[in-house]
Structures are given as structure tokens and as C-alpha cells.
Amino acid sequence: MNEMLLVVMLAGRRAALPAIEVNSVIELSEVTPVPRAAAHVAGIAALRSRPLTVIDCAAALGLGAETTDWRRQRAVVVEHDGHLYGLLVEAADDIVAALDDPRPLGADPGPGWQAAALGRVETETGAVLLLDIGALIGGPGESLAA
């Protein structure tokens, strides 16, 4: 069975997340900033009674020049190592089926993307970059170290 992918817009580009790991896509009503946290941590929000660490994906990739306004973004809710995270993306609308397994990237997808890319996946709507949720959560520091 082919994997289902959630197609998101991130830093003006299309990218994909494994749909099976996505709990929901929500709009955030309240984000509390966290002092002294890494730059890509936009803050914490509450999903019902659970804390949600909001990740600025563009910053995590090292792409966002200025801090993203979470009010105009949507949050992809994922669970990672027992904690809930909200990944901020510009849009998340489509769920498409992958036509094949992720393939290694033929060429460098460009600065930033490389760190969080699992590979390239063909879909009905064209090839997209499959992102590594763990790398997004880890932020730029961690992926550099890896």
C-alpha cells in the first residue's frame, strides 16, 4: 500500500509530511512565547489540555528571515516521542497517495531543505520533498550536528 502524504506549503514551496504521523491540522488561537528557547520554537499552545510545542518550520529549516506570524499559519499536529508538536506551515490542504517509495534526492534541494529532507516522492500532483518530522522539531542546531 502506498503511503499517504499531507502536502503542505512551506516557505513558498510544496513539501510533504507522512500523513500517518499527523493527528490533525488546526488553527491556533493562542501561542505563549517561550523565553530562551531555540529560535524555531514559536512557543507553546494548548490542544485541549495537552501542551503543544509550536515549531516554526521555516525557521527550523533556516529559511525564514523574519519570525513567522503564527496567526496567519496553520499548525500540523504531530506526536513525536510522546510530546505533541504543532508544525507551522503556510497551508496544508491535500492528502495525496505516494506513487512510489521515497527516492534519494538527485540533486541538492537547496540550503535548509537538505537537513530535513527524507527524499523525493512522486505523487499524482508531481514530485514533492518528503520532510523528516524529527529534524523539523530538532531545529537547525540539531540537524547541523547530525
Partner: protein, 778 residues
């Protein structure tokens, strides 16, 4: 009906299980009244329940046992071997019957009549053999599995978080109902629902609780094994294992407890030979107890060993370069015991297999403090050591204080909060030393840490007004400056993702009633990150005074630039406050200078005559516990520790000597001389009190001030006074309350009589006062 039956079976089985230990104990000591009562209650309950369910044989059996036991209770019968055997057989038989009832089988035929006969003491020997046999048969049956439900912890957590969400939703609805204002008719059902939710929350919180017994139960074995290994004899006593604690908390305190017990066994309790030599029993005693006080659990670990060897700790601390010998010498015993918390210090000379694992008490304390607990140590040399761990009942619900800084709300675990103080009342004294600010709180100088700065938030321009005094474990206090303080809350603490925990500033996150997420501060980490130096926590009152201090090495001083341009140093503990003042607040520039500080007029020193005063100057307010003195300076330069040699200088009465600080000279101010000179200037204070009885206006306005200026204290009303001034207009009753009276008259000369003084005869008045004082003193 079936449900009730199942309930009966379950309950009886539970009681049987609980009884197992009691029976054995009773068997070995049939005269034990408490055990007897427990067993009696059991058969009594079974009998009562049987009547309801119609089990005539079970009823007859339990009834007979009840009768026999009640005779024993009433001392009508002795609990002899035969009776005990019979009762035990009956209890076993009840167990068998319960099994049969549960399986829905008819009750088996057995020698019930024989058992009853044995109970009544009417059976003969042969029958008694049978009784024993009945008991033997049933022994295997009682091993059946207990009927309890085992739940995965995740499920309970899920229910718990569901209930937390219900609480949030309820709070939300409550707010909306309040905002709506108008009667909607749902208030009553809502308040019922609300109460129900609270009930469910309490119940589910209880399901997370576990008896601390489970943890305690592992200690005897541990102590036995360790003491065998070390060739020691140690008894362990466990108290109050039934105290209930959040299961997560039990896991968290496990390691610290084990560590402390290991230490006690290894270092605390001496070898049998040493103990005998010290006049103690050969076997050491280790007591572990638990107590609940409100929302806190106190766990005490007490040994009767040799106590903490402070002298050795001190030697090690010096050897490790943590303190100088002078500093150690000045320490109290309590303070020396605290050395055990210094990283890398241990009283053990050799690393042993048991406690020399490189993890010191500092780690133990840090681990306990991490979840809002505290650790205290008391130790008496030769008599033993007591550790007291206090932990909150549960991790998940934490009483908290919410505060705001830079527009953001944070929560502080309430167990850390000592007090909230505000500058609004004008009660706080500050000292600005370099970039650090100190506030004086209960005679301690506490470092002020700005929460905003610690968190890297933008700092508001206004000076901090509001402080939360926080206590970190062993009396380490500091003041956290915040913008606003909201409220106390009972907050449900949730873990944060590792990315956020990395900063080490937070312990978790929580939600306010309206669902807003709020971060819970790790006040210990914030305090340490702000670098609050330890010696500043010591009470300043205990520090030695004045000149004697100059002889000690390592004197902490404030360096400042005096008005004459010299760099000077002054003992830090003598400085109560550092303030800025206008030159206009100073009068009489020169040796008799005075300055207005707040509502006080203080003598001002450090102002050389004939010097042009700068428009604004810094004033150090010095105190020796009595009347303060102000010291004028251009600016405060730094704080430093004096280590160099002090060279005496001549010609400067207020300077002890000159020393080098960072390669530059600094004159050390002679606080002793300053206060001595000042004290000589001040009026001689009398301990005597005066009362003015008579024509109010004149007495108060004319006479009062000169008497006060002479050093007497004025009292009013009915308060007893030593000396009363009486004029002819007032009656004799005023005189009666004072020990001595001075009579005044309004005409000069001798007209008023020799025993009174003309009221404008000032010299006469003063002489009369002096005489009265002398007579009183005699």
C-alpha cells in the same frame, strides 16, 4: 442479587487476605488483644452477611466462632491452644466456603459440626485431629488469585487528562454564564455538574495514589544485605507505610531515599565494636518514617550512628579550596553540615562499593528539589543523623503562584515562595552594588534577580517594585523581581517537550482556567543562573563588627570614590543602603554635616571642609545596629575581597590603613572610629520616661521638646512613667502613676513654695530631672 453476592465474596476474600498475617501473629501470642479484636470483627462481619444471603452453614460456623471469641474477649474463657486451633480451622473453612460460593457450587459437606464442637471445647482428642485435617485441606484453596482489576497506567492517565479537560470546559462555561448575567435557568444543574466533576477529579486523583509501603518494603532487605557486607548489625524500623503518595512521586523519591539509606548504613552507623566502645548497643537502628501534613509528605530517615563529622568535612572543604580556614572557623555547626551539599565532598575516606559512587548529597538534594521537595539534615555528633525529605503529595497538581513580567504570565511552585514583598510600603531597604541590587529582608541581604532579565525578555525601564522571596532548599533565599502578582492556583502540571526543557528554566507547563498555556518556572535554576553568591545569604547580623573585621582576611568591601577623590573601601556588612542624594539635602558642610535621607536626619561623614560639593552625590548609609551614619561619596566603584596587606597611615583618624586592590591603593574606612565618634556626639540617652501632666499646650509645646532633647522618653495617657511634671492645675492623680514628681509653678521667686520650680527656670528644671533620676537609680 448476583452483584451483591459477588461483592460479598470479594469483600470476604479481601478481609481473609488481610487477616492472614493477623492470624499468624495471634497464633504465636493468643493474648494479643488487638489481633483478637481483628479476628473477632471478621467473623462478626461474615456472620452478619451470611444472614442476608441465606447460607445457614456458613452462618452457624461464623456464629460459633464469634461466640467463642466474644467469650475470650470478655475474659470468660482463656485462649488456649485448642481454641486457637479451632478458630484457625474455622477461618480456613470459611475461605473454602467462599470459594465454593463464588463458583456457584453447593457448599461441600465437611465436619462443620466437629469444628463447632471444637470451638465449644466439647470435642475430644480424636475429633481435634479431624479439625486439624480440615484446616490442612483448605490451605491450598486460599492461594487463589485476588479479585482486583489491574489497569495500565496509561489508561488512568488518559482518564485523568480527560477529567482535567472537563474541568477546563466547566471553567469556561462558568465564565460564560457569569458574563451572560441574565438568569438562564441552568445555574442549578450547572453547579451540580460542577460539583460532580470536582468529585470525579478527586476520585481519579486518588487512583494515582499508592501506599509508600511498596517502596519501604524493599528497605529491610537492602539494609540486611548491606550490613552483612559491612559486618554491621542494623535494625530497620518502618513507620506509617500506609501514607499514600502519587505513584510518580514514589518513583522519584526512590533513588534519593536509597542513597541516603546507603550512606547511613555505610558511614552513619558504626561497626559493632565502635558502637560498644561508644557505649551504644551493638546493633544500629535505622528508622524510616512517613507522615502526611496537608499536601506535603515528610519522610524521615534517622540513624543512631556517629553523626556527621563536621571537622572532617571542614578539613575537606579547605583541602578542596572551597573555603578558607578563617571562613570555616566562622561557620556554625549547621553551616558546616551544609558543606555536605558541596559538590565532591564526602566524609568517607575510602571509596566503598556501597556509597562511594561519586554521587554526592548535592545531587540528591538537587533531585529532590527538582520536583518541588526539600531536604534537611540534622546531626548530633555521636548520636546520629536525621534526614527529612518533604515532597508534595502529587506531581500533577501543584499549588502555584502566577506572576507577570514583561506582559507574560508565569507560574511559580508555591512551596518555594517564602513571602511577597513590595516597595510600595517603603519598608524595603536596597543597596545597589555595581549592577547587582540587594534587598534587605529580615536582616538578610538578598540578591534581587529580575525575572525579565533572567528570561531574556525586554526589561521595563521602571525600577522593580514587587519581589517574590524564594527559598531554595536549605535556607538559600533570593528575591525575584516581577511586574505583577496574580493569584494562587491549583495547577495541573504537564511535561514540556525536550526542546523547551533544554533551557533549564522551566519545569513544565500548565493551563490557567481559561485554557491559556503558562510556563512553570524552575526557580532554583533561575537563581543559580543569576549567580546568587552563597555568602550573601548569611545573616549580616552575625558578622563581626567594625575594626575586628579588618584583621580577618577576605573582608568583603565596597570600593568607592570619596569626595576628596581618594579611592576607599568599606566593609560591605556595614553598608545598609546606597542612595543618590542632592547636594541640597546636605547642611553644615564640614565635620558637623548632616543629611536628610527620607524622613531622617543623619550625621554625614566623609565631607571635607571647604570643598565644592558636586550637585549629586552617592551616599552610603552605614549601620551598626543602632543609629545609622551617612557616608558621602562621588560614586561606588566595585565590590571586592580584601586580601592584601593593610598598611597603617597616620593623620587620618577615619581610615584604618591602605591596601592594594587590583593594583591600586584603597583606604579602608575605619567603621569603628566613625561610629565611636558619632556615638560621642549623640546625647546621652536615658532609659527613664517622663510624663507631662497639666496644661496641655504649654507642657507639650514648650517643655516637651527640651526634655526629649535631654534624652528622656515622653509617655502619654495611662502609661506608667518614672518622672511626672505636674503643674498646679492638674490634680494629684497624675502624680500617683509616676515614681517621682516634679512640681512646676507659673510665678518666679519663692512665692509658690520651695518644693516647686518656676516653669521657665531651665537650669532648675534640668537639675530637678537629674536629681530625680539619681534618686530613682539609688
Amino acid at each position: 442479587m448476583d452483584d451483591l453476592l459477588a461483592e460479598f465474596v470479594a469483600e470476604t476474600r479481601e478481609m481473609l487476605a488481610a487477616l492472614a498475617g493477623e492470624i499468624v501473629a495471634w497464633e504465636s501470642d493468643p493474648s494479643d488483644r488487638a489481633r483478637l479484636d481483628t479476628i473477632f470483627r471478621f467473623v462478626h462481619t461474615v456472620k452478619g452477611n451470611c444472614g442476608f444471603f441465606d447460607f445457614p452453614r456458613l452462618e452457624a460456623l461464623s456464629h460459633a466462632a464469634e461466640d467463642a471469641l466474644s467469650d475470650v474477649r470478655a475474659d470468660r474463657r482463656a485462649a488456649d491452644r485448642r481454641l486457637v486451633d479451632a478458630v484457625l480451622a474455622v477461618i480456613d473453612r470459611i475461605g473454602v466456603m467462599i470459594e465454593e460460593i463464588e463458583r456457584g457450587e453447593p457448599l461441600s459437606e465437611a465436619a462443620d459440626d466437629l469444628l463447632i464442637a471444637a470451638l465449644n471445647g466439647t470435642a475430644d482428642e480424636a475429633e481435634l485431629q479431624l479439625v486439624q485435617a480440615v484446616g490442612g485441606v483448605t490451605a491450598s484453596a486460599s492461594a487463589a488469585e485476588q479479585r482486583t482489576i489491574r489497569l495500565p497506567v496509561e489508561l488512568i492517565d488518559q482518564v485523568m487528562s480527560g477529567v482535567s479537560e472537563m474541568v477546563l470546559a466547566r471553567n469556561d462555561i462558568a465564565r460564560r454564564i457569569q458574563q451572560g448575567g441574565a438568569e438562564t435557568g441552568i445555574e442549578a444543574p450547572f453547579s451540580r455538574l460542577s460539583a460532580l466533576i470536582t468529585e470525579v477529579r478527586d476520585a481519579i486523583t486518588r487512583t494515582r495514589m499508592r501506599r509508600i509501603e511498596g517502596l519501604f518494603a524493599t528497605f529491610p532487605r537492602l539494609v540486611r544485605d548491606l550490613s552483612a557486607e559491612l559486618g554491621k548489625q542494623i535494625f530497620i524500623e518502618l513507620e506509617n507505610g500506609e501514607v499514600e503518595l502519587d505513584r510518580e512521586m514514589i518513583e522519584l523519591i526512590r533513588d534519593p531515599l536509597l542513597h541516603i539509606i546507603r550512606n547511613a548504613v555505610d558511614h552513619g552507623i558504626e561497626s559493632p565494636a565502635d558502637r560498644l566502645a561508644a557505649g551504644k548497643r551493638e546493633a544500629g537502628m535505622l528508622t524510616v518514617s512517613a507522615r502526611q501534613t496537608g499536601n506535603t509528605i515528610h519522610i524521615g530517615i534517622m540513624d543512631d550512628g556517629r553523626g556527621i563529622d563536621c571537622a572532617r568535612l571542614a578539613v575537606k572543604a579547605v583541602a578542596a579550596g572551597l573555603y578558607t580556614e578563617e571562613e570555616i572557623a566562622a561557620m556554625s555547626r549547621e553551616r558546616k553540615i551544609e558543606l555536605i551539599y558541596e559538590p565532591g565532598l564526602s566524609t568517607a575516606d575510602a571509596v566503598t562499593a556501597i556509597s562511594g559512587r561519586g554521587v554526592g548529597m548535592d545531587v540528591v538534594r538537587a533531585n529532590i528539589e527538582k520536583f518541588g521537595g526539600t531536604l534537611e539534615i540534622e546531626s548530633l555528633p555521636g548520636e546520629g543523623t536525621r534526614f527529612l525529605i518533604c515532597v508534595p503529595l502529587t506531581l500533577s497538581i501543584l499549588p502555584s503562584l502566577t506572576v507577570e513580567t514583561c506582559g507574560q504570565t508565569f507560574a511559580i511552585p508555591r512551596s518555594y515562595v517564602e513571602e511577597i514583598v513590595s516597595t510600595a510600603g517603603g519598608q524595603l531597604e536596597f543597596a545597589q552594588v555595581g549592577e547587582l541590587r540587594y534587598v534587605t529582608f529580615r536582616e538578610r541581604r538578598l540578591a534581587c534577580v529580575s525575572l525579565g532579565t533572567s528570561l531574556g525578555l525586554e526589561e521595563s525601564a521602571a525600577e522593580a517594585q514587587l519581589f517574590v522571596i524564594l527559598r531554595l532548599g536549605w535556607g538559600d533565599l533570593y528575591a525575584l523581581a516581577v511586574d505583577r502578582i496574580f493569584d494562587h492556583h491549583e495547577l495541573v502540571i504537564k511535561p514540556l517537550s525536550p526542546g523547551i526543557m533544554q533551557s533549564g528554566l522551566f519545569v513544565g507547563c500548565t493551563q490557567l482556567d481559561d485554557g491559556t498555556p503558562v510556563l512553570v518556572l524552575d526557580v532554583t535554576a533561575i537563581g543559580h543562573a543569576a549567580g546568587i553568591p552563597r555568602e550573601l545569604h548569611r545573616p549580616t547580623a552575625s558578622a563581626a563588627r567594625g575594626a575586628s573585621r579588618t584583621e580577618r582576611e577576605g573582608l568583603r568591601v565596597i570600593l568607592f570614590r570619596a569626595l576628596c577623590g581618594e579611592r576607599r573601601a568599606i566593609a560591605m556588612s556595614a553598608v545598609e543602603q546606597v542612595e543618590r542624594a542632592d547636594a541640597s539635602a546636605i547642611r553644615n558642610s564640614g565635620p558637623d554635616a548632616q543629611i536628610v535621607m527620607g524622613e531622617e536626619i543623619l550625621p554625614l561623614v566623609g565631607v571635607p571642609g571647604g570643598i565644592e560639593l558636586p550637585e549629586r552625590l552617592t551616599v552610603l548609609r552605614l549601620g551598626d545596629g543602632g543609629e545609622p551614619i551617612a557616608y558621602a561619596a562621588r560614586e561606588v566603584l566595585d565590590i571586592a575581597t580584601l586580601s592584601g596587606v593593610l598598611k597603617r597611615v597616620g593623620g587620618k583618624p577615619t581610615v584604618v590603613g591602605v591596601t592594594l586592590v587590583d593594583g591600586e591603593t584603597a583606604e579602608l574606612v575605619d567603621c569603628h572610629a566613625l561610629f565611636a565618634a558619632h556615638a560621642a556626639q549623640g546625647a546621652v540617652a536615658h532609659s527613664l520616661t517622663c510624663k507631662l501632666a497639666g496644661e496641655d499646650g504649654w507642657m507639650r509645646n514648650f517643655l516637651g521638646p527640651i526634655i526629649e532633647a535631654a534624652g528622656y522618653r515622653l509617655v502619654e495617657g495611662d502609661e506608667a512613667a518614672d518622672i511626672a511634671f505636674v503643674d498646679p492645675s492638674s490634680g494629684a492623680e497624675a502624680e500617683g502613676t509616676a515614681r517621682k514628681a516634679i512640681h512646676l509653678r507659673s510665678t518666679p521667686g519663692e512665692a509658690g513654695g520651695a518644693d516647686s520650680i518656676y516653669r521657665y527656670d531651665r537650669a532648675g528644671l534640668m537639675a530637678a530631672l537629674m536629681r530625680a533620676g539619681e534618686e530613682l537609680a539609688a
